[in-house]
């Protein structure tokens, strides 16, 4: 089997040590003649082909000798539209197309299990880099349309096309399915962004604004300058966030040990809110933005010491939700910086606007649920008053940019094919509200029958502690947390259900095929549940 370098990135933690070595941006490639596909000899019973679509996107195809006529067209997730020195280059993405999911992001590992399993079972796989990076739905849909034609022309025994993708790739897949329903036969939406991108960027922007307002006034956060000056602002913001994340982690650790507030130096919120613990402020910011209170390493239930002890209870109540928000929130803040910079370029200016946001109202219910870790009604009122103070600057959009941003491609939610969604209940980048949005749009029995939602749910308890009783966040992310944090077996559950559907008159199985697919993977559930809608969501 072929292997691929792990150069494709989903939206993940953007906390990078930005050594400001080189600043570069890759422009969209000029329109060029398509090339390929050029195929090598069959190796290990698989033919590998490569080429370039007419928009300049490189693609990869792999077709087993026993090709059964069904191909999986993969759309990868968000890739940064700028270089991050020492960490990431756009060229590494644009030169290395990936035809399928390669597992949760881990810098040194690539999980080929999904792709190899598909090939071994007679399925072909294909995917491209897309011609541009960043938020690229329009361009990516066009690339996929062309790529389907290229594949079918080359492999004329193709009978079925299953489009699937992760994160932004799922958005692209649904957009493709809605605009070109005749080109595909089934769709897999994994850790999907759905509807429109505004909800994600509002969540991320609200949290980032909160960090700037409370702790780090030098964060730029939005309205980035053009060109290299803007990229410099992005790098600076990422550097500030990394430093701030560490400082806040230290503050919360100190507070849990001493029961006394411990604000980082230079935090503007300290003057007015110094008597309120930082952990309560962080939790407030997370709740108002819609950040999950369970994260990769903090479950909201576990604590050090014996189960049921005061120590365990205290940590689970006071510490865990805040630490989860901290862990999740800095992923969201990284998204806010990188994606906002990208989409501001596309929109022509600032589109995030919180000038009319009533943050206190946002947490009407949550302030009751989390009253104790928020340190009580007096502290809650104090934080709310600080955020609402007219002297605390809000972020206003540029009207023309906001209007242009609103013209970004949106989904209708209409399903024309069997569609399988794989979504984590604690995904901070594309929260479960995305999936619930799609569920809510299926009004008829016929429409509902086209959709299967598979929830990836964390275990009830997964936080671990060191021998000294400190929370240990060094292990892998818990299942059902993080973004696109799936195993090969979980991807294959989606693939298996979809392949059965497209080979069975387009109907999703409700019996043994589904049961088997789920039984082969851990942590998955199709039990009826309701995903919480995002804090902010345009109808």
């Amino acid at each position: 089997m072929s292997t691929f370098t792990k150069n494709q990135r989903n939206l993940v933690s953007a906390l990078v040590a930005a050594a400001l070595v080189s600043l570069s941006v890759i422009a969209a490639p000029a329109q060029a003649a398509a090339t390929g596909p050029v195929c090598g000899p069959s190796t290990n019973a698989v033919v590998s082909c490569g080429g370039t679509t007419s928009d300049g996107a490189k693609y990869a195809m792999q077709v087993p000798d026993n090709f059964n006529g069904t191909v999986f067209l993969y759309s990868h997730g968000y890739t940064y539209a700028i270089d991050i020195p020492g960490k990431y280059t756009q060229a590494s993405v644009l030169n290395n197309p990936v035809p399928g999911p390669i597992g949760p992001l881990a810098p040194t590992t690539v999980d080929m299990m999904t792709i190899n399993s598909l090939l071994a079972s007679g399925y072909a796989v294909v995917g491209s880099t897309f011609p541009v990076l960043g938020w690229n739905v329009k361009e990516a849909v066009a690339t996929n349309v062309e790529l389907i034609g290229v594949f079918k022309k080359k492999f004329t025994d193709t009978k079925k096309v299953i489009a699937w993708g992760e994160s932004l790739g799922a958005f692209i897949t649904q957009a493709l399915a809605e605009k070109y329903p005749k080109l595909i036969d089934g769709a897999g939406l994994m850790c999907p962004a759905l509807g429109n991108v505004a909800a994600e960027l509002t969540t991320a922007g609200d949290f980032l604004w909160g960090l700037k307002t409370m702790f780090a006034p030098t964060i730029t956060g939005r309205n980035y300058a053009a060109g290299q000056a803007g990229m410099m602002q992005v790098y600076t913001d990422l550097t500030i966030l990394e430093s701030l994340g560490n400082a806040l982690k230290t503050s919360i650790g100190t507070e849990l040990a001493t029961s006394a507030p411990s604000w980082p130096a230079g935090a503007p919120g300290a003057a007015a809110l110094g008597a309120v613990p930082v952990r309560s402020v962080i939790l407030y910011l997370g709740l108002m933005a819609g950040i999950p209170t369970r994260s990769a390493h903090f479950d909201g239930v576990s604590g050090p010491g014996a189960a049921g002890s005061s120590t365990a209870f205290g940590f689970a109540t006071m510490g865990s939700p805040a630490l989860a928000v901290l862990q999740n929130g800095f992923d969201a803040a990284g998204l806010a910086v990188l994606a906002t910079h990208d989409l501001e370029k596309q929109s022509g200016g600032a589109f995030f606007d919180n000038t009319k946001t009533d943050y206190a109202k946002r947490i009407t219910v949550e302030k009751s649920i989390y009253n104790t870790p928020l340190s009580g009604a007096t502290a809650i009122a104090g934080i709310g008053a600080y955020l609402a103070n007219p002297a605390v600057a809000r972020w206003a959009a540029t009207p023309a940019a906001a209007t242009k941003f609103a013209t970004q491609i949106k989904h209708t939610g209409k399903l024309s094919h069997p569609t399988v969604v794989l979504a984590a209940t604690e995904d901070v980048i594309t929260p479960e509200g995305n999936t619930q949005w799609l569920i809510n749009r299926q009004k008829t029995a016929a429409a509902k029958a086209k959709l299967l939602v598979i929830w990836n749910k964390p275990a009830d308890q997964y936080t671990t502690f060191t021998a000294a009783g400190q929370p240990d966040a060094s292990g892998p992310k818990a299942n059902g947390t993080g973004h696109c944090n799936f195993t090969a077996d979980q991807y294959l559950a989606v693939a298996n259900i979809l392949s059965d559907a497209v080979e069975s008159n387009g109907k999703l199985d409700t019996g043994v095929v589904r049961e088997n697919a789920l039984a082969n993977a851990t942590g998955l559930s199709i039990a009826p549940r309701t995903g919480r809608m995002q804090k902010y969501y345009k109808k």
Partner: protein, 431 residues
């Protein structure tokens, strides 16, 4: 062709026959109205702390409910069905309450009943979207007035009088019995305490000192002395303690050590004698404190409900002291039994909700005021009687017999109730 995982080379078709034999059938989403009901069984669930630092006293409620259901089942059940209560320990953690409630739903319960705590119930209502899924959550164990608002919580039913009602009544009591005294309050700074504070203000009480405390901060040894210093420094003569029992114990203990002896008025939530004694509060410290209740005194052996519940407790909950937590649990179970009975043999979730709205006012219950359910309100009981702890730690009604005050959670007046509660007869079972 079916997809194989290349590493294991397990064909799904081969696996299919095996898994099909053991696979759990996923409940159909369209038929949730009858989930948890068979011809012989009704499955109910409750999430509450059964251990841990927040469980004191509360851990007796669910077992008492179960004991009453066992009693009902031993006498034929309800409409031919037995009631099965599954108890989950949420440790009084909001996330664990959701986890355990999801587990209960996954286990196929028909309804939640008696789940404890404002924050926990709110988190469950939000995470499980009870507003739209319409899973009934009956007779929640909290006086938070918000759960009585049908438009926000259409499948939830309050049972206890609201905290707002309670302090409105307490306010009238203070005006009548302690005019011109300086009044202060220690209260839990959340919806619980805020509700109570608002009721006092609605009653026209002027508070010379308000001492809010964050939930759980009572565990800090500095808290109690600090509260008492604030009250005594303000010259408070009538001190209201509106918190959970563990906080009441901290306040009373600190006051006793400081030789500060105001007229204490305790919120009903924080005045369970058994728990207070377990936390070190002696009869002497408690002597003279005033509190309220909507149920008869646990020591009132002339009350037919108390007599019945004590008998049930002896047989089905052996070794457990009959206290206000046991009483509350058994009364909740009695209300639940009445609701299920009234909903008829074709039991559905929607039918049960409708039944409580239309017939709930007449359900058999030990409360000295009737429930006030209607098509527009899910508010439960509406009144309290007030009493004073004597030197033996027994709560004695203010006039020697129950004088029930009733009101609403708005601006309605506090009036003496004329409700005549029917005595429970025979085994107290519904025919």
């Amino acid at each position: 062709m079916r997809l194989n995982r290349s590493k294991n080379a397990l064909t799904l078709t081969a696996l299919a026959a095996t898994v099909a034999m053991v696979a759990t059938v996923v409940p159909a989403q369209a038929s949730t109205d009858k989930v948890g009901v068979t011809s012989k069984l009704i499955k109910l669930g409750i999430s509450q702390p059964t251990d841990g630092p927040a469980s004191a006293g509360y851990n007796k409620v669910a077992p008492a409910m179960k004991a009453y259901f066992d009693y009902v089942n031993a006498n034929g059940g309800v409409n031919g069905r037995k009631i099965e209560l599954t108890i989950k320990n949420d440790g009084y953690l909001v996330q664990k309450a959701v986890n355990e409630s999801v587990a209960l739903v996954d286990e196929g319960i028909f309804a939640f009943v008696g789940s404890l705590g404002t924050a926990n119930n709110l988190n469950v209502a939000t995470a499980l979207d009870l507003k739209n899924t319409k899973i009934p959550s009956l007779f929640v164990n909290t006086g938070y007035s918000g759960f009585a608002v049908k438009k926000d919580h259409p499948s939830m039913f309050s049972l206890f009088p609201s905290y707002y009602m309670e302090t409105k009544i307490v306010g009238e009591y203070i005006k009548k019995n302690f005019p011109n005294k300086k009044v202060g309050i220690i209260y839990q700074a959340d919806d619980f305490g805020d509700d109570g504070l608002a009721g006092l203000k609605q009653a026209g009480i002027t508070l010379v000192k308000e001492v809010p405390y964050a939930s759980l901060s009572q565990a800090d040894p500095r808290s109690g002395p600090a509260w008492i210093t604030q009250l005594s420094s303000a010259g408070v003569e009538v001190a209201i303690m509106f918190g959970v029992t563990s906080a009441t114990a901290v306040a009373l203990g600190a006051a006793a050590r400081a030789r500060y002896a105001p007229q204490w008025i305790l919120g009903s939530v924080g005045s369970d004698v058994t728990t207070l004694k377990a936390l070190g509060i002696t009869d002497g410290i408690l002597n003279g404190a005033v509190t309220g209740s909507f149920l008869p005194a646990t020591t009132d052996l002339t009350d037919s409900y108390i007599k019945l519940f004590r008998e049930v407790n002896t047989k089905y909950n052996p070794g457990v002291i009959f206290d206000s937590n046991v009483l509350a649990g058994m009364n909740t179970a009695m209300m639940t039994t009445a609701a299920i009975k009234a909903a008829g043999t074709n039991l559905t979730r929607s039918g049960l909700i409708k039944t409580i709205e239309t017939k709930g006012k007449s359900f058999l219950s030990a409360s000295l005021t009737p429930p006030t359910y209607s098509a527009t309100s899910h508010a439960g009981y509406s009144g309290f009687w007030l009493g004073t702890f004597n030197a033996s730690g027994v709560l004695v009604p203010e006039t020697g017999k129950y004088k029930i005050y009733t009101t609403d959670s708005a601006k309605g007046k506090v009036v003496v109730s004329t409700y005549k509660r029917p005595a429970v007869s025979g085994k107290g079972l519904l025919k």
